[in-house]
Amino acid sequence: MNIELQVLGYALRAIAEEMGAVLVRSAFSANIKERRDCSTALFDRDGRMIAQAEHIPVHLGAMPDAVAAVAMHHPAPGEIWVLNDPYAGGTHLPDVTMVTRTPVGYAVSRAHHADIGAAEPGSMPASSRTLDEEGVVIPPTRLDDATLNALVERMRNADERRGDFRAQAATHRLADRRLAELCARRGEREVLAAMDALYAYSERVVRAAISAIPDGTYAAEDVLEAPDRDLLVRCSVTVAGESVSINFAGTSPQHDGNLNAPLAVARSASYFVVRCVTDPDLPASGGAFEPVHVTAPAGSLVNAEPPAAVAAGNVETSSRIVDVLFAAFGQAVPVPAQGQGTVNNVTFGNDRFTYYETIGGGQGACREADGPAAVHVAMSNTLSTPVDALELQYPPPRRELSAQARLGRFWSPARW
């Protein structure tokens, strides 16, 4: 690989990382600032993801749809576009995505906001049945002050929400400035060439790793426990040479609760598992997923259609998709045993505050090591909110909460 392009690739990655660091440090939602439930990325002009600062894997495969959804509207440079519609580039409503044009493509940020205006505080309702019960649905929209104010007025803690939106928007101005500097220093053509090279490099590494997996078709299934019945998640993984096809045929149809997931979530989960079984240290770039093809029946639990509710698809269904994919890949290569199999959301709040936390548990063992205890498993990897910080910001919780939290965090057993 051309060294000049490789060095430029470092610079592109550094810009994505700086966007992420700025968002975490200047945000207001505990969810973003303490827990880092956000990701930032740079895309090229063709809408291919070039570099991503990942904090949690669930955002891995979900951003390209957001860029495609905004690109259709031909955004002008300097405009900030925002969306959260799971059926138009989003995943679930609390994940708000911003997209801007840059001199060499697009910059994208996605952050889980503490409230998005659902009937219940925290906007992760346990019992929603349609999307509009889960909060404000934002189709791709050009964001200006008036739009911003109109949006946040429909959510709890409008002022805090406004702060988070502004912090998120600031990362885009930063990306724009940094990319302009880079182009001025190195030439736009070189930066574009470096984007191509970075993408192709990731693709080569992953193709080489996939070709080391024995060819064949591997199937697995498991259930997801809805309140009224068990829902089936079924996958079949076909490894052929340098590529992998993942198909979710046989998975239950979407249901009238909120465990439904748009295809972007199924893709993120699939990419996560492929990363784990190929090259875990490869920097995130869309090229790594070029050899991975994900399909699912339209209207199924993992490729839901409007107006299905999707709040828990991102957190619960995504976890189960990971479980069944590891079970399938496990027939061909060593994989870790299953972990707690949930992102384990806890939310509470009222009109004045909302609190959202995901609780860690046990990761199953690997062939050469025990699985760690008290950690986030699979699709999440957020920091816990310190008790000191929690009690400073929110009404004093009772001691029972702390004890519960302690037991839950530490003693959640691995499933097998």
């Binding site: 207001f28 600032k33 502004r166 490099y201 008290a374 310190p386 000191d388």
Partner: protein
């Protein structure tokens, strides 16, 4: 008696510097397993009979933590929160390697014990029940109770009881060492401090004995904050000396830059396995309030040194995607780079520099470099590519401490030191837009020089979480940690007039926006009592003028001056390199 002596213990060598009336004597001796013996050997090599001040940088605490050789330690927490160390912050160690684990806590769960009591942010809610404090069998005990940064009384009484029950044990309470909110980070810091107490105490007492027997003044020990303190102070809170070594380098670089007329500079210390960079503003070394050491957050004032795992010994290889990667694996001191002829076969950055003709045939210490071995190890890898990739890694670190904190590198000079820093500095400067590179004559022993001239410094912090408008009168000097109410990370702003306006401005600079209608919250007030170190008077070596491309050999380091750069050393001990002509950026492809 006017000599000032600095002795810096590193992993491979122990360096000594004696500055006396415009003369400078330096020495390097191999580091022995008993550090106090190396310290004495190095001190004797420069002379011990005319020393008025003796300062010391040590890795004893860092090594004890990394090698897990501290005391058998217990932790006392608020009942119900005994698992604080095991829970950490719940994140896993690696996103995609699922069984990678964090280092196991310094205290095993069976020695994490609860005591009945409870404070909340607004005061004590459950009185302390000392009878609930279990029997403890340990050499060191850390006490960390919820909200003790604000309500320390229970911790004080528990610590008192423990000191009564266990007179030989090293007992530390969190409010004594890190009275800041966020219980995991506070407990982690307190536990490290307790864990290191006995080992650091033993070493420092041995050092003091050795110094006294040799007729040296009582040693002063470099703290992570970049200031020195007495042996007794260092022994009572050894978590404060975890970054002792890099702190000496940063202080030395700041002093060199100031003397050369560059109050704004970036220190670049490139060694064999890692590179430390640090921003120096208005002659002062940048400071931070937290650092991770060996995987444990240590929430204490430290020089803000950013470290990357790239150095002269970093190994180059081509990966499966055809990309050249350099480090983080290192050939270290043994076997060392292939060209050292000590059995190393893998290509390193040093081998690449030799192949490019940027190193002499022989290094000080009669180490002959084997160019053929370097070429063999490199095989088909272009040496220039190795240098460019490792430079990209270091560039990333230099950008983190400058650009990402809102500072334009063009306003700074680069101070290059460590064995390999001066080899790479000019090219890095060019990439960053830095116009001046400073290479001190003492580049090979700059950390020891920094020790010799460092200030005495005692930091303090008070957590006070209130709206800034209600904070009342603040101290005249020191810093305030401020944030918009609702944020979790603070910006540190010097106390003084227009505090709010300066916070908004800093927020705009760092994060790209400010919101003047939003309430500002004070989180902590910090400060330090500083007693200035001795003046620095260095000898001036012979005048030197050099135009690139050229190699300049100095004791302990080699300088590579690329084409387009020129250097002058005239009446001072520092070579000042400047870009003499603008060089256009490299082009990848021929343009059509």
């Amino acid at each position: 008696v006017t000599g000032v002596l600095g002795v810096d213990v590193g992993g491979t060598f122990t360096d000594a510097v004696l500055v006396e009336g415009g003369t400078l004597r330096t020495a390097k001796v191999p580091t022995a397993s008993r550090q106090e013996e190396s310290v004495l050997a190095a001190a004797r090599a420069v002379g011990t009979d005319r020393v008025s001040r003796f300062t010391h940088g040590t890795t004893v605490a860092t090594n004890a933590l990394l090698e897990r050789k501290g005391a058998r330690t217990a932790l006392v927490t608020t009942a119900g929160f005994e698992h604080v160390l095991q829970l950490r912050r719940q994140t896993r160690a690696h996103l995609y390697r699922l069984c990678d684990d964090h280092p196991s806590p310094l205290v095993p769960l069976e020695r994490c014990l609860g005591v009945r009591e409870r404070a909340e942010p607004d005061g004590v809610k459950v009185p302390l029940d000392l009878d609930s404090l279990p029997h403890i069998d340990a050499e060191a005990v850390a006490v960390c109770l919820l909200h003790a940064y604000r309500w320390p009384e229970h911790e004080q009484r528990v610590a008192e009881e423990l000191r009564r029950r266990l007179p030989g044990a090293h007992v530390v309470a969190s409010h004594e060492i890190a009275p800041e909110f966020r219980e995991y980070e506070r407990a982690s810091t307190t536990v490290a401090d307790a864990y290191l107490g006995p080992a650091a105490g033993r070493y420092l007492r041995a050092l003091a004995d050795v110094a006294e027997a040799a007729g040296l003044p009582a040693p002063l020990v470099m703290r992570s904050s970049g200031g020195v303190a007495s042996v007794a102070e260092a022994a009572s809170h050894p978590a404060l000396i975890l970054v002792s070594g890099p702190a000496g380098g940063a202080v030395g670089a700041a002093r060199i830059a100031r003397e050369a007329g560059f109050p704004n500079a970036i220190a670049l210390d490139m060694g064999g396995t890692s590179t430390d960079v640090c921003l120096i503003t208005n002659g002062a070394v940048g400071r931070s309030h937290e650092r991770t050491v060996g995987g444990f957050p240590i929430r204490l004032p430290t020089v803000d040194v950013h470290t990357v795992g790239a150095g002269g010994g970093s190994i180059a290889r081509i990966d499966s995607g055809g990309a050249l990667r350099v480090g983080p694996q290192s050939a270290g001191a043994s076997p060392g780079p292939a060209c050292y002829g000590r059995g190393g076969t893998e290509p390193t950055v040093t081998d690449a520099n030799l192949a490019l003709g940027r190193l002499p045939e022989e290094l000080p210490g009669e180490l002959r470099l084997d160019g053929a071995a370097a070429a063999r190890a490199l095989g088909g890898i272009e040496p220039e590519d190795v240098v460019r990739v490792v430079n990209a890694e270091m560039l990333r670190a230099l950008r983190v401490v400058s650009v990402e904190r809102g500072h334009d590198p063009a306003d700074y000079a680069l101070v290059a030191f460590g064995g390999a820093g001066p080899l790479h500095a000019c090219e890095l400067a060019e990439e960053l837009g830095v116009r001046t590179v400073l290479v001190p004559d003492a580049a090979g022993v700059l950390s020891a020089l920094g020790l010799a001239v460092s200030d005495e410094r005692r930091d303090w912090v008070e957590t006070r979480i209130v709206p800034l408008a209600d904070a009342g009168e603040l101290p005249a000097s020191g810093d305030a940690d401020l944030r918009y109410r609702g944020q979790s990370f603070e910006l540190t702003i010097p106390l003084g007039r227009d505090l709010a306006a300066r916070f908004h401005h800093a927020h705009e600079e760092r994060y790209g926006y400010a919101d003047e209608r939003r309430e500002i919250e004070l989180v902590a007030v910090r400060g330090a009592d500083v007693r200035r170190g001795p003046p620095l008077s260095l000898p001036s070596p012979a005048e030197l003028r050099v135009t690139g491309p050229a190699i300049v050999e100095q004791p302990g380091s080699t300088i590579w001056v690329p084409r387009g750069w020129a250097g002058v050393r005239d009446g001072t001990s520092t070579l000042v390199l400047t870009r003499s002509q603008h060089r256009p950026p490299r082009q990848t492809n021929a343009r059509g």
